[in-house]
Amino acid sequence: MGIDNKDTSYDSLYKAFEERIELLAKLPKMDEDNSIEKVIKENGFSRRDFMQWAGMVTAMLSLPSTFTPLMAEAVKVADRLPIIWLHMAECTGCSESLLRSANPSIDSLIFDYISLEYHETLMAASGWQAEQNLENAMHKYKGRYILMVEGGIPTGNEGSFLTIGGHGKKGKDIAIDAANDAAAIFAIGTCSSFGGVQAAAPNPTGAVPLSEVTNKTVINVPGCPPSEKNIVGTLLHYLLYGTLPALDVFNRPKWAYRLRIHDLCERRGHFDAGEFVQQFGDEGAKDGYCLYKVGCKGPYTFNNCSKQKFNQGTSWPVQTGFGCMGCSEPDFWDTMGTVNEPLKDRLYHTTFGGLGADATADKIGIGILTVTAIGIVAHAAIAVIKPPKEGE
């Protein structure tokens, strides 16, 4: 008794959010006739669905549930923030992750609703009109727009591996120019966050992450592809806070990339019990045992896949019976080894190489994980000698 339950820090945060939403609401709308209520209704969602979704996003961003109505309000003003989405050396998989769902999810509807000024896969214009759209948007919303970049930036051969537009402007220069006048910069996907597949050895095009061509802060939202929740969540986080989120050593938002796949995994119990899939298609695979020994890189990967999942929350790689390949870690194509084999002794090399395969979300965690990693290998080795129960 006598304890004041009122959390003053949340109170002030709530006030700050309210003020920010008020401020954003004063900015001009993209389309006067459009509203989030209309978009939601037209696509067959009820207000209840929408509020449920808002509650889910609130929880995902580690905010108390009392913030849910505020989240719904924030989404309403989401069309005030102009967004420019650039495609560099990429495969469009990140855009697809967000947009390609069996039924449009609320996440993808939010993307229809926001003021997307330039997105090569979605815009009606082509050719010089497209080029002009980009220039206009950058000029009109100078210092106000959010820049989202998908794809690595080729810098080899003076950046000539990628040119866009009638004048053959280099991808690198477009990215630099767009970053200069952006209010916030998000690198969507592993390619723009860390270089991605084209930066894998021997990196023939000299592909680098976006953060290496601009000296402004870049928030990395890695994943190959990242889930739609992480993309939309990063956007809404910025919308609410107006500042950059708490970031880990690789500039990933902590609310999404704080925890290891291994620690959030639904098969973790089998790992702890020493129950491993020894080979795809065996009895263990049928029983949903741990996939570490058939190459799961969950112990070295930080992401929230098992919580947020993909395809509208249907599934994620480990749930389907195939190990994590470590796609949200820097240089994972080179440091994570063969996809169907555990890292084993190569572990030490990557840990001290500091290339990220084993590095943790926080610097403090590095030492701890090294111990864990050795433990993982030892644990798996014991399980070889003592195979899971036989003679069922």
Partner: protein, 171 residues
């Protein structure tokens, strides 16, 4: 004087594409060039790697046709190593490819390149029967034309009667 028209970037596709067209004074296209303005060198990256990793790398060629490159890369490896896959694997692959096919076509038609050729809004007021009739002008066996089940049967009857009359003539 002929005119050179450049369309770059071509939007609503995966990747980066540039088209150049030379148009004569009479408005007739004399020549046309297409170039992909992005090179990533995945072929170079694939060299010397464990073949088990290659399909995942090649899958990153395109995030719109998610399964196609994965499948073909796997088949290329099997071809090189002379691996024969079990019948069940073939079935699973066929199912996955069919799923991609069903997903991919609506996406391309309504979301990506279809927008270049079709006024999607007026598609709502289209008459499926007329569209079906139109389709039969160009092929005997159109797919998914709305009214096609009945019309196809009718058509099939007339076609078989035509064929029988043709056979009669020959004999």
């Amino acid at each position: 004087m002929s005119k050179r028209v450049v369309v770059d970037p071509i939007t609503r596709i995966e990747g980066h594409l540039r088209a150049e067209v030379i148009v004569g004074d009479d408005g007739v296209v004399q020549d046309a060039f297409i170039s992909s303005t992005l090179w990533r060198g995945l072929e170079v990256i694939a060299k010397g790697r464990d073949p088990r990793n290659i399909p995942l790398i090649m899958q990153r060629i395109c995030g719109v046709c998610t399964y196609s490159h994965y499948l073909k890369s796997t088949m290329a490896i099997e071809n090189a190593l002379e691996i024969k896959i079990p019948y069940n694997a073939e079935l699973v692959r066929t199912l996955m490819n069919a799923a991609l096919f069903m997903h991919d076509h609506p996406v391309h038609f309504y979301h990506l390149h279809g927008v270049d050729w079709v006024d999607i809004v007026s598609a709502l007021s289209a008459d499926p029967r007329k569209a079906s009739e139109l389709a039969f002008k160009y092929t005997d066996n159109p797919i998914g034309t709305g009214e096609n089940v009945t019309t196809y049967k009718q058509r099939d009857n007339t076609r078989s009667s035509k064929r029988s009359s043709y056979i009669l003539k020959v004999t």
